[in-house]
Amino acid sequence: MTSPAEQEVLVSARGLEVHFPVRSGGALRRTTGALRAVDGVDLDVYRGETLGLVGESGCGKSTLGNALLRLVPPTGGTVTFDGLDVTAMGRKQLRELRRRAGMVFQDPFASLDPRRTVAQTVSEPLEVHGLHPGRQARAARVRELLELVGLDAGVAARYPHEFSGGQRQRVGIARALAGEPDFLVCDEAIASLDVSVQAQVLNLLRRLQRQLGLTLLFISHDLSAVRHVSDRIAVMYLGRVVEVGPAAAVAAEPQMPYARALLSAVPVPHPELERSRQRIVLRGDVPSPARVPSGCRFRTRCPDVFEPCPDVDPVLQPVGSAPGHLAACHLHGVVGAPVQRAEPGAPVGAGDPAS
């Protein structure tokens, strides 16, 4: 793996925000607040890499994945895909984005239309984008795709309910690959599968990535799986990426207290080491994304909280020894925007520690 600095950025988010309006009940439906699902994310995904995105439930991982592809409209910040501004794309460009960026969904039982055959599902991208025109050419391409994901081409005429979860997920992957995408978002793609099938699908994704030169954003709460497949890992907390870096560095020496606590929860597959493993147990609950704490959003649960935390919103800054390892934490020097009480958390650019 070459160092990130030499690599070409494929997808990039700057200050990305997805705020959902919180409405009061009653007839008027006034907007009373904002649920900040994604709140100022700076993230680069390099071409050809697998970036693992981890974080606990409700931290905005999936929303971020959806926002990068504009499946959820961002309310602030920018996303660029191969140099193009995703947030400003018109109809045609957006369609091309949908071809070049695919998505694999969590629940393979919900993500396939029960009334359409496997062939109809997999060929939909081909029809939409006018690829492989002609009935026979499309059918041939569908067979090719099914074999690519390890399914028998003879299953094309069958309906989803005839398949197991793992097989359905392969169909979902085949659909996502039909348009020959550069970028694939796997949104908890193995979370609802049996453990043995998880390993198969994980290996399938790895094989496909190498074979097709895909760039993968692997969203998961399963840290072992993420560590297994990722070149780099990004840790998310309450709508913000708080640490990102090479997988080995983040896994071995997480620099931000939240990342440390999260990674300390991963069991080690070695009995003696497992026994001596130090677990950091966080106190308290995750604050509501509708009421994000001022300054560092982790300060309400952080074991190492000190003076600047409530007043300065930390930005990602280089930490540790590995190049490209960034964390947003004042323990590595107080860097960030002072809290303005009116408009908290103005996003600051990533590779910009000197502000």
Partner: protein, 312 residues
């Protein structure tokens, strides 16, 4: 799937596929539905009877032993006999023939009015449910206004404005049923719209039109199909009611509702005059209802409670 590939092992070939389904080639969904329906005795009998009624309506001229207005003054108000199985009316017309010839009118009005309501109502419900927001609000409030009127009263008002006659009866009954189809469709679409497979299709670039026609409508269809069957029953009934009130087909055309109205005056001397057209209405309406129930069981068991009190 008992063997677990060692994590980290690079599979040279595609991983061993799980056993594939060994069922016979996939049957389309509608064939499956028909099969289930055939195993539901009530629905199967109802469907058979309805097919017979439709056949009667289609071949009415051939089946009717007498013409609709063939009068025999010597045989006024005769009770059922070998020559006139349903008796005769006050002009000596054969009630049996007129019931057969009236089937066409009733069914035509029923089918056409429901077809109108189905197309318009489904379209409104689809647009309202899919696009939501102010489109939904506007359309559904409009439907609420229509819904607020008692059905037959609304139909009478429409016929009163546009004049009596079969065409206006069809239109009136159709308009009355539009809000029901709009509501059923909208409710169904609201559920389907949020399905992951709809999002998945959008993620590969499918247009709104494609999402609606290929994914949302087919998956939202079951309750609409059930509603169609139930509405046919009510439409036949409504046609009879409008005819009864003199707002449907004109005399002397045979129509079940008209015959019922005319027979009412002779109910004490000639029970057969009103009873046989009435029976025809009852059987047709009952069959549509039972078929609707059967379809609901087969297609959409969850809707059962939702629609239990909703018919009109």
């Amino acid at each position: 799937m008992t063997q677990l590939p060692a994590p980290g092992a690079t599979p040279a070939a595609p991983p061993p596929a799980e056993p594939l389904p060994t069922t016979t080639p996939a049957r389309p969904r509608w064939r499956e539905t028909l099969g289930l329906l055939a195993r539901n005795p009530t629905a199967a009998v109802s469907a058979t009877v309805l097919v017979l009624i439709v056949l009667v309506a289609v071949f009415d001229e051939t089946l009717a032993p007498y013409g609709p207005n063939e009068q025999d003054p010597s045989l006024q108000l005769q009770p059922p006999s070998r020559d006139h199985p349903f008796g005769t009316d006050e002009f000596g017309r054969d009630v049996f023939s007129r019931v057969i010839l009236g089937a066409g009118t009733s069914l035509r009005v029923g089918f056409l009015s429901v077809a109108f309501a189905l197309v318009v109502g489904t379209l409104i419900g689809l647009v309202a449910g899919y696009y939501g927001r102010w489109v939904d609000d506007t359309l559904m409030r409009l439907m609420d206004v229509l819904f607020a009127f008692p059905a037959v009263l609304l139909a009478i008002a429409i016929v009163a404005i546009r004049g009596a006659g079969p065409a206006n009866a069809i239109l009136a009954i159709g308009i009355v049923y539009v809000p029901i189809f709009a509501r059923v469709t909208r409710a169904s679409v609201l559920g389907v719209r949020e399905e992951v497979y709809v999002r998945a299709s959008r993620s590969v670039g499918a247009s709104d039109w494609r999402l609606i026609t290929r994914h949302v409508l087919p998956n939202a269809a079951p309750p609409i199909i059930v509603q169609t069957s139930v509405s046919l029953a009510f439409a036949v009934l409504a046609e009879a009611a409008l005819s009864f009130l003199g707002l449907g087909p004109r005399r002397p055309n045979p129509s079940w509702g008209l015959m019922l109205a005319d027979g009412r005056g002779f109910i004490e001397q000639a029970w057969w005059y009103a009873v046989f057209p009435g029976l025809a209405i009852v059987v047709t309406v009952l069959c549509f209802n039972l078929l609707g129930d059967g379809l609901r069981d087969v297609l959409d068991p969850r809707q059962r409670t939702l629609m239990a009190g909703g018919g009109r």
